[in-house]
Amino acid sequence: MIDILNILLLLFLIVCAVGVAYIRDLLSAVILFSSFGLIMAIIWQQLSAPDVAMVEAALGTGVISLLLIAAISKTRRTE
C-alpha cells in the first residue's frame, strides 16, 4: 500500500520537474517548482529523514518561491 503512494509521489515529482523545464510562463514555473519542493519534502519523510523534510518544506516550498517571485516582479514575466 505504501509502495503505491511512493510510486505516485515519484511520478508526480517527474511530471513537476519536466513541466518546470518546458513551461514558458515564469510565474507558473515558480508555482510548479514550489509544488515540486512540497512533494520532495513528503518523499524525504518517507525516506526517514525528517529534519531534511522540515528544511525542504520551509526553504524549498516557501522561501525559494518567495525569492523567485520577488525576482520576477523586478524583471519580465515571460521568457
Binding site: 525528517p50 529534519d51 522540515m54 528544511v55 520551509a58 526553504l59 516557501g62 522561501v63 518567495l66 525569492l67 520577488a70 525576482a71 523586478k74
Partner: protein, 141 residues
C-alpha cells in the same frame, strides 16, 4: 495589491508558525530539526508578514538594521561560545571537556554548549532569510 483573504489567513497562521519555529530551535538537541530548520521556518513567517500586508508592516516586525545586527550577532555569539570553551580550559568549541553544565540527559536544559550554539545559529539563519528578501525587493543601497 492588498488581498483580504491573504491578510486574514496570514494574521491567523503567523503566530503558530513562529511558535513552531522557536520550538524546533529550542529542541534542536533532542528531536529532529535544529537551528537551521527552525530558523528557516521563523524567517519564512517574518517574510510572510511583509508579503501579505506590505513592506511597512514587515519592517515594523523587524527593522532592516535590527536584522543585520542580529545576523552579525548570531555569528559573533557562535565564535564567543567557542572562545569561552578555550577560556575554561578546553579546545575550541569543546563541550563537556571545558566544563559546560550537562544537565539531565533528555531534558530541555541539557547538552551544555550545543543548546547555546543552536540558539545563536537559529537567530542567524532567521535574520539572514529576512535580509535576503529585503535586498532582493528593495535593491542594494
Amino acid at each position: 495589491m492588498e488581498d483580504q483573504i491573504a491578510r486574514i489567513t496570514s494574521r491567523l497562521v503567523v503566530p503558530f508558525i513562529q511558535v513552531y519555529g522557536i520550538y524546533i530551535i529550542l529542541h534542536g538537541h533532542l528531536s529532529p530539526g535544529g537551528s537551521f530548520s527552525g530558523g528557516a521556518i521563523f524567517g519564512a513567517s517574518l517574510v510572510l508578514v511583509a508579503l501579505s500586508f506590505n513592506l511597512e508592516a514587515g519592517s515594523k516586525q523587524i527593522p532592516h538594521n535590527t536584522a543585520s545586527i542580529l545576523e552579525s550577532g548570531g555569528a559573533l555569539g557562535y565564535i564567543i561560545t567557542g572562545l569561552v570553551a578555550i577560556a575554561m580550559g578546553g579546545y575550541y568549541l569543546s563541550n563537556k571537556a571545558a566544563g559546560f553544565p550537562m544537565g539531565e540527559a533528555g531534558s530541555l536544559f541539557s547538552a551544555g554548549a550545543i543548546f547555546i550554539i543552536t540558539i545563536f545559529v537559529g537567530i542567524k539563519v532567521a535574520s539572514t532569510i529576512v535580509t535576503l528578501f529585503y535586498y532582493i525587493i528593495e535593491g542594494e543601497k
